[in-house]
Symmetry: C2
């Protein structure tokens, strides 16, 4: 099987490698699509990162991440919007296929989820024209409801698509198996997303039983309960055929194994269970 | 404030008390509504538990719990349905206001969530006539999506109400703040539930940030991020005015404090933040 359909999100090997070494490790196993995080880009410098991307002909399936809009003050929201514009600039420099947005949760002690969601809407409205002017699609990533308080108050595909529909084109969704697999409306909403041309990324990993940590205990594909082949079939039937991007946060397991072994396992599982 | 609107789910004080001692501890602080678990009832015996309920004029806001339908074999599903009939019998003996159903997750290594949901539908279809014959309402409790794999594959209020609508009357929902607070369709679906006369229970606790354990780190009301007053307003506007039932699984914090202090804190928070 060609590995053109496989991308490695560099969070998966962040404990082992900085950006340049991560790229080398991917290339050594014929992986030519990656998704870096902004802090990894900042550590090496945007120009050097962009040079590495171009000189190796890499596909950047997404830059992680913009978002985090809700704030306790108008100045805070304005600062978040400015930072998101820098994220757009970086995504453009890296020729990324989209800027992934984790929209943010409840700001500083707030219990007002509708207000946080309103700030996300305002933030997107301010950011989208800037991104459109540079031809950089924005990919809202609905996060699992267990992150509603502290990471993202957009928690279902339906909610993300409702947001997109308030804007029109150039904004869509990143569909991450970990965040959406449980959703009783998953098939319906993936079809809706595809019909609207809104599927911009397809992330994979697995849900472990038991899950020992809300953030850092994601599983390798095949080690959990997500029917990844069924998800892929829904996404492809909806018209999206881009790479599947492996994004595993696993501080105590995969994060502690040799990076080349992690990448080799991603490839083996991609070829067998995804 | 009268405490008639407050019920203590005995899971909240399970580490401190068996059924009889839990009742005594509640009565000592003028709590006259409780919700026991089946294992607590079995430990003392159904007849004795029913005698304690009657002799003290207690309200039983629900019996926890039936459900757990999905199984790896038809025999397993049939056994689950039989066990649920015993749960109905027990709820009737205790004069409970409803039997709470935690429907079950993926059976033994399955990745087939639609099939599990189908078994839930089949289980409910088999159980409901039995419950109706004894006048015992069934309350489907949609559980937070983080429990989809191992506890309940009904994960939103909308999904639970769609299930109810396949059956007609005598089946409804238990709305637990912990499970539903994040839902972008919460207000809409609570209104729908109320219009259909389907709100059978209202459970409260709080979502802590950070949450350190997926199951056993629920917060005391006021210690987390849930807007409990707003939730209560939605539920009351939808026509439900039954007690708020405090259900806190907190093995390492509230489970280790003296039971009377836990109950006193429940009362104080009920009077101030709920």
């Amino acid at each position: 099987m060609s590995l053109a359909g496989l991308s490695i999100n560099l969070a998966t090997i962040r404990q082992q490698y900085g950006f340049a070494a991560a790229v080398d490790a991917c290339l050594a196993q014929n992986i030519t699509a990656i998704a870096p995080w902004r802090d990894q880009i900042h550590a090496i410098g945007l120009d050097e990162a962009a040079r590495i991307v171009r000189s190796n002909g890499l596909t950047v399936t997404g830059l992680c991440r913009g978002g985090m809009f809700p704030a306790t003050t108008p100045e805070g929201l304005a600062a978040a919007i400015e930072d998101n514009k820098r994220a757009v600039d970086e995504a453009v420099a890296l020729d990324a296929e989209c800027l992934v947005l984790v929209v943010g949760g409840l700001p500083g002690g707030s219990r007002d989820l509708p207000a946080a969601r309103g700030m996300v809407l305002d933030g997107l409205a301010a950011l989208l024209p800037y991104a459109q002017a540079q031809n950089m699609p924005l990919a809202i990533e609905p996060l699992h409801p267990m992150y509603a308080a502290d990471r993202a108050c957009v928690n279902t595909l339906e909610q993300a698509l409702d947001l997109c529909d308030q804007f029109g084109p150039d904004i869509g969704v990143a569909i991450d198996a970990y965040h959406v697999w449980w959703d009783p409306k998953l098939a319906e909403q993936i079809a809706r997303a595809g019909a609207g041309g809104r599927i911009l990324a397809h992330h994979i990993c697995d849900w472990l039983v038991p899950t020992r940590d809300l953030l850092l205990d994601r599983g390798m594909m095949g080690d959990g309960v997500i029917d990844l082949k069924a998800l892929r079939a829904m996404i492809e039937a909806a018209g999206y055929h881009g790479p599947q991007e492996v994004e595993i946060f696993s501080a105590e397991n995969w994060g502690k194994r040799p990076g080349d072994a992690v990448i080799a396992t991603c490839i083996e599982r991609f070829e067998t269970v995804c």
